[in-house]
């Protein structure tokens, strides 16, 4: 932390600095929300993408999944690749918030709030894709057990049913975790807002929080318990997602390495997305004092570690195919190297295994521009990995007569790019209306640094 935040008056200054981004942007050292052309341009561009997303969804519901390039044998295509990719991105937020909280890693404080928001939006978008890809999406609720006149129950032995429980639990728990963390900050915004509309809106959302000592005690307990519950949940969600694949007997799906390899890949892409968001944020809002180089470097180290596990997963898949001697697994592995999707395979190896090795150098870890570049490369690589698993594995299974090729249509690309725009728009709305760093935890940090330095 910088020196000026350990003084007693720093409680007020950190609060004002973060609250002003929302309430009085011009005071926070910027042109004001309405004055900034960058803000306007980004808002309009992403909002156009949101409209495209909903328009395309409506057209998809009207016309059916034939809009996409999917067919038998590749029935899952981009939709499932996007689903696994987005839900993976949605893992870093809870990891940062829950696991690093339990491990008492104080550096998480400046990045946990927006990482949680990222988690929530990514998981929400991920949840849309399985519904979009259904042949009859209006029956998606058949996966949920509810009293029905058909006297039917979901098939409890199917990972797809586990999936809906895992994803909806993850969404609800991430939302609770994020919202509980926000309550005291919403109270701060309520008390600092000057217009009636804002006072009402933040006041209602703050639930009447007034910061009484007993309330704080219960609040801290509840927050810690949520972290404790979210920790195994993070691991379970991507495990269940990987079981969607691993329980099928398709070569390329049927692998016991999948659960740990998917969880590591999720954290890998999640931390990449944290960097992709953190680096422009700290620059645009001048938050270098809060989101320091140390935060970026530590995230880079987490990427290095999870990237190594992912690389181990790739190696293990190849080793198991040849060591197991199953001719279909071997053929699938060789097809990855030389087949129709080989360019994707080699690009993903470069993006996920080769290029991130530059993070071993301290100079790269401490250079925001280089980290931003690496984070984009990893995001791209992880998307290609999901694509490869979903598409390449199914395009050549056991019988040559049932082989086929998947070629994405313009609609496939539309949904991918528009989902990115939806994510960006939700994130812009978040930084516009909610504090992107936890003011409460910042004040706590001020107190702790004040204690340790003895001021």
């Amino acid at each position: 932390m910088a020196s000026d935040v350990s003084a007693p008056q720093a409680y007020g200054s950190v609060t004002d600095r973060i609250a002003d981004i929302v309430l009085a942007r011009s005071r926070a050292g910027g042109p004001g929300w309405r004055g900034g052309w960058r803000w306007r341009a980004l808002f309009l561009a992403t909002f156009a993408g949101v409209l495209v997303f909903f328009g395309a969804s409506a057209w998809l519901f009207a016309r059916g999944v034939g809009l996409w390039g999917v067919n038998i044998p590749v029935a899952w295509g981009f939709a499932l690749g996007n689903f696994v990719w987005w839900i993976g991105i949605g893992h870093a937020g809870t990891f940062i918030s829950a696991i690093l909280l339990l491990l008492r890693q104080r550096w998480r404080t400046s990045i946990n709030r927006f990482a949680e928001a990222m988690t929530l939006f990514a998981a929400g978008i991920a949840g849309l894709f399985p519904i979009l890809h259904l042949g009859r999406p209006w029956f998606f609720y058949w996966l949920i057990p509810y009293p029905n006149r058909m006297e039917l129950w979901p098939q409890w032995r199917s990972p797809l049913v586990w999936d809906i429980f895992a994803i909806s639990t993850y969404l609800i728990v991430s939302l609770l975790f994020w919202y509980v963390g926000l309550i005291p900050d919403l109270a701060t915004l309520r008390d600092r807002a000057r217009t009636r509309g804002r006072q009402l809106a933040y006041g209602l959302l703050a639930l009447g929080w007034r910061g009484e000592a007993r309330h704080w005690a219960r609040y801290e307990t509840a927050y810690l318990l949520l972290a404790g519950l979210a920790t195994p949940l993070v691991v379970s969600v991507h495990t269940v997602v990987s079981l969607d694949f691993a329980i099928g007997n398709t070569p390329g799906y049927h692998s016991t390495i999948f659960p740990p390899y998917f969880v590591a890949g999720a954290l890998y892409s999640g931390f990449a997305m944290v960097l992709t968001l953190a680096i422009p944020l700290r620059r645009y809002f001048h938050l270098e004092q809060y989101i320091t180089i140390r935060h970026l470097a530590l995230s880079a180290k987490v990427m290095l570690a999870t990237g190594a596990i992912v690389a181990y997963g790739y190696a293990s898949e190849i080793f198991t195919a040849f060591y197991g001697g199953d001719e279909f697994e071997i053929a699938m592995t060789v097809d990855r190297w030389t087949g129709a999707y080989a360019p994707v395979y080699w690009t993903l190896m470069a993006c996920n295994v080769l290029i991130p090795q530059c993070l071993w150098w301290r100079r790269v870890r401490h250079c925001p521009a280089a980290l931003f570049g690496v984070s984009l490369v990893v995001n791209l690589g992880m998307w290609m990995e999901r694509f490869l698993i979903v598409v390449q594995s199914t395009h050549r299974d056991f019988l040559p007569s049932s082989w086929g090729i998947f070629v994405p249509t313009a609609w496939d690309w539309t949904f991918l790019l528009a989902s990115l725009a939806l994510f960006a728009w939700l994130f812009l709305m978040f930084i516009r209306f909610l504090p992107l760093i936890s003011m409460t935890e910042m004040r706590e940090l001020v107190r702790e640094t004040g204690r340790t330095t003895g001021s």
Partner: protein, 179 residues
């Protein structure tokens, strides 16, 4: 006649508030309320907070979620809708673990948040302390100690007594909180 909810003293640091809360407790005051913009270690104990039921409620929620989830699957697969798949056992318990686990987490998390809010008496639309002058800074950088007067008149001897006690703690300000 103005009746008071309590008498409020304003402090500039968490340590001053903590010391004041301890002093008030030692002087025999009960139902002391202390307000801070972030959790202050030891403050809850200083104002007489003893029983935290949030952990128990969370445990109960998680156990109910797990048991309920498992029972639902067992009932569906064995009693309500048995399907014979090549003679495999209907009660295939390993396959029932993921859903039971997710429901344990979900119900535990909901119980944690709901019990925390319920025990705190939230959400509520208003509270007398919000009318205290300067209380808006309790969510920024000020620390407040409120001693209860339970509707006593402002010019009552006890109100004056409490105000005098609070002034003795050397706060930045002392004010009345109307009921």
């Amino acid at each position: 006649m103005r009746r008071l909810y309590g008498m409020m003293a304003e402090f500039r640091s968490p340590d001053a508030l903590l010391a004041a809360a301890r002093a008030a407790g030692a002087a025999g005051y009960r139902d002391i309320e202390a307000y801070a913009p972030f959790p202050v270690e030891g403050l809850a104990e200083a104002v007489g907070f003893r029983r935290n039921r949030v952990p128990l409620a969370t445990l109960a929620g998680a156990v109910a979620g797990a048991a309920g989830g498992y029972f639902m699957q067992w009932y569906a697969a064995v009693v309500s809708f048995p399907i014979n798949v090549g003679g495999r056992p209907l009660h295939s318990w390993p396959m029932f673990i993921p859903v039971a686990f997710e429901l344990a987490i979900l119900c535990g998390a909901l119980a944690a948040v709901v019990s925390m809010l319920a025990a705190n008496g939230l959400p509520r639309l208003t509270h007398p302390v919000f009318d205290a002058p300067g209380f808006g800074l309790a969510s920024r950088d000020r620390f407040f100690l409120c001693l209860p007067l339970r509707g006593r008149p402002a010019d009552d001897w006890e109100s004056r007594d409490v105000a005098a006690f609070l002034r003795g703690l050397e706060p930045a300000a002392v004010c009345e909180v109307p009921r």
